[in-house]
């Protein structure tokens, strides 16, 4: 780790039993790169379009690991072996245990322990996860299919109330990144439950007490309103089942109470009390969001349930009790951030790595005992630093209510079952393709099998706990698969397929343009839209399509067209748009023969075009770097595209995403061109080869170079604003159906896709290979 990035350790106060470690590392992983060949003087017809190579790239990653306290020595060994380099002098520690274990740490590691304030760390950590992890926050719903209701991230996280229930309770009001205030607390907390519970039930462990409580009947121990009134207290509208006096029935001392009943009564007493105080503080400070954390809450449905009940009761539904998926890590994250303050990790965006993170609830021993390993680490979170900060697409009508995903699979059990099965069935094929994509690698088979196993396990976890990684969606399933593929060094299993498809499609480009140009205006518009849709049929990612393509190799463009259900009133009838933003989907026929003719038509009408492609590979989607090469080649053939590039009427940008789906809340703020972002040596080679390849299209190269470099610090978002984008085209199943189907934009939008999945077609009331063509004009 870099010398200036100190590991942060959160040591539990005496109540806790877990030690959390946070550290920063740089991870080497494989990335696929493309670059044009030097074709000068050669017959290029029989050569592949571009060269694919796999390179090592280094990315920053944050690791968070939980250790059981009994393994504190193992934890310190781990730090000593892996983390402490010669330049590391200090370790940041927080938590009550920072005092207790200070000497042990200093002796064992030879490092100075820098104690950081518990609450400061907690809040720093909390702000960090609220900002960086989608679906971090959830509300708990009892008696519902979806116990966990994940919240969409609000662009503004402040102000909020954080109620930390450790051995005692701290109530903190957080107003901004650096401004927070302890506004109250209570001594009746987790320690009271544990201590008093141990006295009453002779049960020693916190988890066992909670289990007792979940089996008990508090009404045997508590005096209820109906015990006093014989029924409800109607004048005040107090139900007969409300607790009038906790433990009120135990005053008749001759009675024996069961451990379960006493534990339950104690749990209610403490949860209600905390909820009441939290509500009183929320009311006083006019806040309606309360995040709960601390060991009393940590992943325990029982306590989340009672706290939620209490908050609803005392606030009459006006305040929401919210919980955090990574609550247990907050202190360690905060301590780490304190140590890394000079680097200011907040200037970056971070994304959860689904492959390396264990899901919610894995802390609970009865849910997944297998996840505890001998080393004592049993729960972790990994976050990768994203290339660039991500922001909202400025064209979203209401970012705070935008939900990218069309179907919430945590909510919809039928859909969940279908998609999990679908992903399971496709898994062998994906693993096979991954292995096949690296024929020269000796261990490709082995890695593919590891990938298969890992993803299979993830799918099984999700069957048991759909909420393990936040709201379960087709998008999250796809993203998890990409993360797992990356984890086992399959950065781009479709690279060869894409390369081939791009090559073939490019050869057809001119004839497609010629045939389009021969049509009259009306026919051409229709053909263009049909072409867009027909191109989108070609999708190796979709099972139905790969079946067709594999069994009928002659299945061609014309046939795809004929399979389409005719549709499409042209949106090109009105006055030309100022600027169109197009989110492209697949490489090959889709982008080259579907999207580009459409782009060309837009350009001819005087509409500027921003073509946004994924930053990283996902399935057979066209990546930004591939789009650069493809565009170059098209520009060489087509004067319209050529001059548009030169005049910056056609702009290529990256989305900041590596997902087949699209979350419009997180698009690249400052997209860099592949050239500038990649290592210097690489980009020079690339530039050089381009220049040699097309010496006479120097203009285009210059334009392209200028485009990339001049956009160095300008984002897609900035560009969209600058060019006054008034049309957004979103193409493909992942971006227009699985996500964004219901997205409302402030400008005209066109969502189009071919449904290549019969279940989904059924759901939407159509047939497989039906067309979605959703043209929306915002209300004035």
């Amino acid at each position: 780790i870099p010398p200036d990035s100190l590991p942060g350790v959160s040591l539990p106060s005496l109540g806790g039993s877990l030690t959390k470690l946070a550290y920063y590392s740089t991870v080497q992983h494989k990335v696929a790169r493309v670059r044009s060949f030097d074709h000068s003087g050669k017959d290029i017809d029989n050569e592949p379009l571009y060269e694919i190579s796999v390179q090592e790239e280094i990315t920053a990653r944050l690791h968070f690991i939980k250790f059981e306290n009994t393994y504190i020595e193992t934890c310190l060994d781990f730090i000593k072996d892996h983390l402490v380099n010669t330049e590391t002098k200090v370790i940041k520690a927080t938590g009550g245990g920072a005092y207790k274990f200070k000497d042990l740490i200093e002796k064992k590691l030879g490092l100075k322990v820098d104690k950081e304030d518990v609450m400061t760390c907690l809040i720093k950590g909390c702000n960090f996860v609220l900002r960086n992890i989608p679906h971090e926050v959830f509300a708990y719903q009892k008696d519902s299919d979806t116990e966990f209701r994940f919240q969409t991230n609000h662009p503004n996280i402040f102000p909020y109330l954080l109620v930390n229930i450790g051995s005692g309770v701290s109530i903190v009001k957080v107003e901004s990144e650096d401004k927070f205030e302890w506004i109250g607390g209570s001594s009746i907390g987790g320690g009271t439950f544990w201590g008093l519970g141990a006295l009453l039930t002779k049960t020693k462990k916190f988890d066992e007490l909670l289990q007792l409580a979940s089996k008990g009947q508090h009404t045997n121990v508590d005096m209820l309103v109906k015990d006093v009134y014989g029924g409800a207290y109607q004048t005040l509208g107090l139900s007969g089942n409300l607790i009038a006096s906790s433990f009120g029935k135990s005053t008749t001392a001759d009675k024996e109470f069961s451990k379960e009943d006493m534990a339950k009564s104690l749990l209610h007493m403490i949860s209600n009390d905390i909820g009441q105080l939290a509500c009183l503080h929320a009311k006083l400070h006019n806040l309606d969001k309360i995040y709960f954390g601390g060991f009393f809450i940590r992943g325990h449905p029982v306590t989340m349930r009672t706290i939620t009940y209490s908050i609803n009761f005392f606030s009459k539904g006006e305040v929401q009790a919210l919980f955090l998926r990574h609550e247990g890590y907050l202190g360690a994250i905060g301590a780490f951030l304190k140590g890394a303050e000079q680097d200011n990790p907040n200037q970056y965006s971070w994304g959860e790595n689904y492959a390396g993170s264990s899901g919610l609830m894995s802390t609970s021993p009865d849910v997944s005992p297998l996840q505890r390993t001998r080393s004592g680490t049993f729960d972790m979170l990994e976050m990768d630093r994203l290339e660039r900060p991500l922001v909202n697409l400025p064209l979203l009508k209401d970012p705070s209510t935008y939900i990218p995903d069309t179907v919430d699979l945590t909510d919809d059990a039928m859909a969940r079952k279908y998609w999990l099965t679908c992903f399971e069935e496709a898994l062998d094929g994906v693993a096979k393709r991954a292995a096949a994509s690296q024929p020269d690698s000796v261990d490709a088979q082995e890695r593919a099998e590891k990938f298969r196993q890992k993803y299979w396990n993830k799918l099984q976890t999700l069957r048991q706990q759909p909420f393990a990684y936040g709201t379960l969606t087709v998008r999250s399933l796809l993203d998890t698969r990409e993360h797992c593929l990356n984890e086992f060094s399959f950065p781009d299993p479709y690279s060869k397929v894409k390369q081939k498809e791009n090559g073939i499609a490019l050869k057809c480009f001119q004839s497609v343009i010629e045939s389009l140009d021969s049509l009259d205006w009306e026919e051409r518009q229709f053909a263009l839209v049909k072409g867009l849709l027909a191109g989108n049929v070609f999708d190796w990612g979709a099972k139905a399509v790969s079946d067709v393509l594999e069994s009928e190799p002659q299945f061609g463009f014309e046939e795809a067209k004929s399979k389409l259900q005719g549709k499409g009133r042209s949106l090109l009838e009105g006055p030309p748009h100022k600027c169109a933003l197009i989110f492209a989907d697949n490489s090959g026929i889709d982008i080259i023969l579907g999207v580009f003719p459409f782009v060309r038509e837009l350009l001819s009408r005087g509409t500027e075009v921003i073509l946004a492609c994924n930053s990283g590979p996902a399935l057979n989607d066209v990546t930004y770097s591939e789009s650069l090469i493809v565009t170059e080649r098209i520009a060489a053939m087509d004067p319209v595209i050529h001059s548009a590039l030169r005049d910056e009427k056609l702009l290529l940008v990256q989305t900041g995403s590596s997902s087949p789906c699209l979350d419009l809340r997180y698009v690249g703020k400052a997209p860099l061109c592949g050239l500038c972002a990649s290592a210097a040596g690489w980009s020079e080679v690339w530039l050089w080869s381009v220049a040699v390849l097309w010496p006479c299209s120097g203009h285009a190269v210059a334009a392209l170079t200028a485009l990339c470099c001049s956009r160095l610090d300008q984002g897609l978002a900035v560009l969209v604003r600058e060019r006054q984008t008034d049309l957004v085209v979103i193409e493909g199943m992942g971006r227009a159906i699985h996500t964004n189907y219901y997205a409302v934009l402030r400008c005209e939008s066109l969502k189009l896709a071919v449904i290549k999945n019969s279940w989904l077609a059924d759901r939407l009331g159509g047939k497989i290979f039906s067309v979605i063509f959703k043209y929306e004009v915002p209300c004035k």
């Binding site: 106060s13 005496l14 109540g15 009550g96 005092y99 304030d117 609450m119 400061t120 450790g166 051995s167 005692g168 701290s170 302890w182 109250g184 607390g185 209570s186 001594s187 009746i188 907390g189 987790g190 320690g191 009271t192 544990w194 201590g195 008093l196 141990a198 006295l199 009453l200 020693k204 121990v221 508590d222 005096m223 309103v225 015990d227 006093v228 009134y229 014989g230 029924g231 207290y233 004048t235 005040l236 607790i243 009038a244 006096s245 906790s246 433990f247 009120g248 029935k249 135990s250 005053t251 008749t252 001392a253 006493m262 007493m269 209600n272 009441q276 105080l277 009183l280 006083l284 005392f314």
Partner: protein, 374 residues
Amino acid sequence: GYLQKAKKIIMKTFFPWFGLDIGGTLVKLVYFEPKDITAEEEEEEVENLKSIRKYLTSNVAYGSTGIRDVHLELRDLTLCGRKGNLHFIRFPTHDMPAFIQMGSEKHFSSLHTTLCATGGGAYKFEQDFRTMGDLELCKLDELDCLIKGVLYIDSVGFNGHSECYYFENPTDAERCQKLPFNLENPYPLLLVNIGSGVSILAVYSKDNYKRVTGTSLGGGTFFGLCCLLTGCSTFEEALEMASHGDSTKVDKLVRDIYGGDYERFGLPGWAVASSFGNMMSKEKRESVSKEDLARATLITITNNIGSIARMCALNENINRVVFVGNFLRINTISMRLLAYALDYWSKGQLKALFLEHEGYFGAVGALLGLLDSA
């Protein structure tokens, strides 16, 4: 003239004057003993009525559990034109059936009086009164009664002394003293009634009030937990134990965690960070005494009530908090702690007030309700 005469006749038929407050744990009974009975009246007084009067006024204990709080008796009171003494009697709610039985044996129903009752038990035992005692209860709302009772008793004073008082220097055992407080202009005030559970009312005028909130952690919780933890069987026993215990052996203090004050948040080292927090450790569980546990239970419940009351006072923008209820009976530890906690955490902005007749206001209110209805 005529009206006064009529009233006198009604009153006569209305004797005896009772007010009953049937709570979750205790029944509170106030009895007005007329001292201005004329010879004529004495002659007319039916035998049953006479025997009830004699029974109540000549004893200080009734059965094995009924107790008359003689020290609270209000003498030479004028109520509805009659002079007399007000007696304060209590017994456990679980003896309610025996009480109704006794009423039945003494042919209470033949007196054709109305029995005004408040508290949850007025509803719960209504049917028993009807069937076992042949008595129709007049049920009154407990919060109405409570406020009425507080205002009335405060206005008549405590046999020439002030009903309301506060503690000066509540933390300093040497300098702490109980001083009278003049509650002449009482509004707005926060009224915290600590019975088995706790109700908190914001009172703006004699008939404008609202129940702000309540908590189930009240006197019943203290006593109930003490029974379970120490095996004690009476409230008095529990308090006696608490007075000899040391809660800091049971509770985890701020200084136990931080070695001193937690300056970042201005928390003093002596503050309790976690009630019963030390009991997470097996060794410490084995080394504490029953007295320590009783004390910790008392401190936990009291601090919590203080803290909720303080938050309510802040939310309602009220700075006078009156604590009543039988939890405070013979419970100076809690009263001083409430006084101190309110003062400390509000930086002197809030004042804790107490009333001598702690738990009897509901019953007094019920009695006043009887006279209002007449």
